[in-house]
């Protein structure tokens, strides 16, 4: 599903974020990226979503070499990658429903279909009753779940999350991780960057998860 082949990423300011990184993630796999901040976890996820482009090397996402994706094809690519952020990135002036509907609106889905799919996504994260609220009226955990609903509403084959539990207490974190696990169980490829090793251990206690540890732009342990 995702294949990094000797990928380098150097930022314009000279920082080497990824150094000769190779990684293969199969369809439906759930992978945790761990490591200190600055190890390259976020960069790795940004390359998948094409927020950044590799400096060198090949990256295949969903069967397509990202180097060949032009600016015009970028939106279509991003629609196949659901993204969850530590700071949720919700639109404060729109309701929960409208926030979750955004990926469907930009891809031209019809009104009735949007209603159905948004409610299905909200139901999956347990927020069906809050669809008319504004994000700021929600708790941090609820906001994060809205972010997850938005990421999965268009049923992308890939779901990436950058520190999705960074601002949550352990119980909420586990709950959020279980939501990700359910998507993985139905075939979605899930990549989660997290430095919360204890949380991953708790999740790993009743199921297998793959862990990839990054340090200074390289994979040091799998």
């Amino acid at each position: 599903m995702i294949r990094f082949d000797h990928v380098f990423k150097r930022y314009p300011n000279g920082r080497e974020a990824l150094l000769d990184l190779s990684l293969e993630v199969a369809s439906g796999e759930m992978v945790f990226l761990t490591g200190h901040s600055g190890a390259g976890k976020s960069t790795l996820l940004k390359l998948i979503a094409l927020v950044e482009r590799p400096t060198r090397g090949q990256l295949i996402v969903n069967g397509q070499n990202v180097n060949t994706i032009s600016r015009g094809k970028l939106p279509a690519h991003r629609r196949s990658v659901g993204m969850v952020f530590q700071d949720h990135k919700l639109l404060a002036d729109r309701t929960v429903f409208d926030n979750v509907a955004l990926p469907l609106i930009v891809s031209g889905v019809g009104e009735r279909e949007i209603g159905k799919r948004v409610r299905a996504a909200l139901d999956q994260v347990g927020l069906l009753q809050l669809e008319k609220n504004l994000p700021l009226e929600l708790s941090t955990g609820e906001q994060q779940r809205v972010g997850i609903a938005r990421a999965v509403v268009s049923k992308p084959p890939i779901l990436i999350a950058d520190e999705p539990t960074g601002n949550l207490d352990p119980e909420l974190s586990l709950e959020v991780m279980r939501i990700f696990r359910r998507f993985s169980d139905v075939g979605v490829t899930v990549l989660i960057a997290s430095h919360d090793l204890a949380l991953i251990d708790r999740l790993a206690s009743n199921s297998l998860v793959r862990r990839v540890r990054l340090e200074t732009g390289k994979i040091i342990r799998e």
């Binding site: 279509a76 690519h77 991003r78 629609r79 990135k89 639109l91 955004l102 930009v106 031209g108 938005r150």
Partner: protein, 304 residues
């Protein structure tokens, strides 16, 4: 397809809603556009009216033909009837020397002095009014030249010089209106562009998120284009109102001035055709300004 139109309609209404939320800023932009468009529109109205007015004057210009001394009444009558047959002449009035003297005696107050004259010093005269479609300066000129070559004609008096001068001034002003119009059009485009730029800056986060979830450049740009559309409509409607108000303010003094010259000339505002043109220009400039600004500035708003 239906979804496409629904989305456009939603964006159209949605942007109007957003603009009405930022009332002060929207009002300022619309006000500036309105004033900028009202200036050339008003000038255009005034020039149009001045042309109508000078056309009236032109039509009122008659040719005065003085016949050579010693021309008999019969010869004068013959000339007059010859002139009447011309296609470009509407009306011919023969003023016989005796009648002219009598009239002069009655009106001038020099009757005693005139009585002392042995014979009538006045020649016969013919007043010719050109036909309606032959009142341009060139046509008047050729008419007067032709008349001058007729036998018995001494002097042809044609006072169109000031009309010509006036028309020349009007032409210069009209060109000036164009120059002012083009400059202000550029100004309006820049104003709209600048407003859209500020709008893009303040909605950076929203744009980035929309791009992250797969919004295309066209999708992200759309609300800004509609904002430009609304600015254009608002500005040109305001310009129409301003023009209307100026015409209304000037109507009474202009009518009084015209009355002093014995004319029933009235100031006319923009007709519906020109109003539509103004509206179209306003919308076009709003759209253009937002298109430039949005296409340029949105390229730099990318998620990081």
């Amino acid at each position: 397809m239906k979804v496409f139109f629904t989305r456009h309609l939603q964006t159209l209404v949605g942007t109007l809603g957003r603009l009405s939320q930022q009332r002060v800023q929207t009002l300022m932009t619309v006000l500036v556009i309105g004033i900028a468009l009202a200036l050339p529109a008003t000038l255009q109205v005034l020039v149009m009216n001045a042309r109508t007015a000078s056309g009236d004057v032109n039509r009122a210009v008659d040719l005065s033909i003085y016949l050579k001394p010693g021309t008999t009444v019969a010869q004068a009558e013959q000339l007059a009837s010859r002139l009447r047959q011309r296609r470009d002449v509407a009306q011919v009035q023969l003023v016989k020397a005796d009648d002219a003297l009598k009239q002069f005696r009655e009106q001038s107050g020099f009757s005693a002095a005139l009585a002392a004259l042995a014979d009538n010093p006045l020649p016969h005269a013919v007043v010719v009014r050109p036909a309606k479609d032959f009142t341009s300066a060139a046509q008047m000129d050729s008419l007067s030249t032709e008349i001058k070559q007729l036998p018995d004609v001494d002097i042809v008096q044609l006072d169109t010089a000031w009309v010509e001068r006036f028309n020349a001034i009007l032409d210069a002003v009209r060109r000036g209106v164009w120059v002012v119009g083009v400059l202000l059009a550029i100004g309006v485009t820049i104003i709209v562009g600048n407003t859209i730029r500020a709008d893009i800056q303040s909605r950076r986060a929203e744009i980035e998120i929309t791009k992250l979830v797969g919004g295309s450049d066209a999708f992200v740009r759309r609300p800004f284009l509609y904002s430009g559309f609304w600015y254009g409509i608002g500005g040109s409607l305001l310009a129409l109102l301003i023009t209307l108000a100026i015409v209304a303010l000037l109507a009474v003094p202009v009518r009084r001035l015209a009355a002093l010259y014995g004319s029933d000339f009235r100031l006319v505002g923009l007709d519906w055709k020109n109003s539509l043109v103004l509206l179209g220009v306003g919308i076009g400039l709003g759209w253009l300004g937002s298109l430039f600004a949005a296409s340029y500035h949105l390229r730099n708003v990318e998620p990081t």
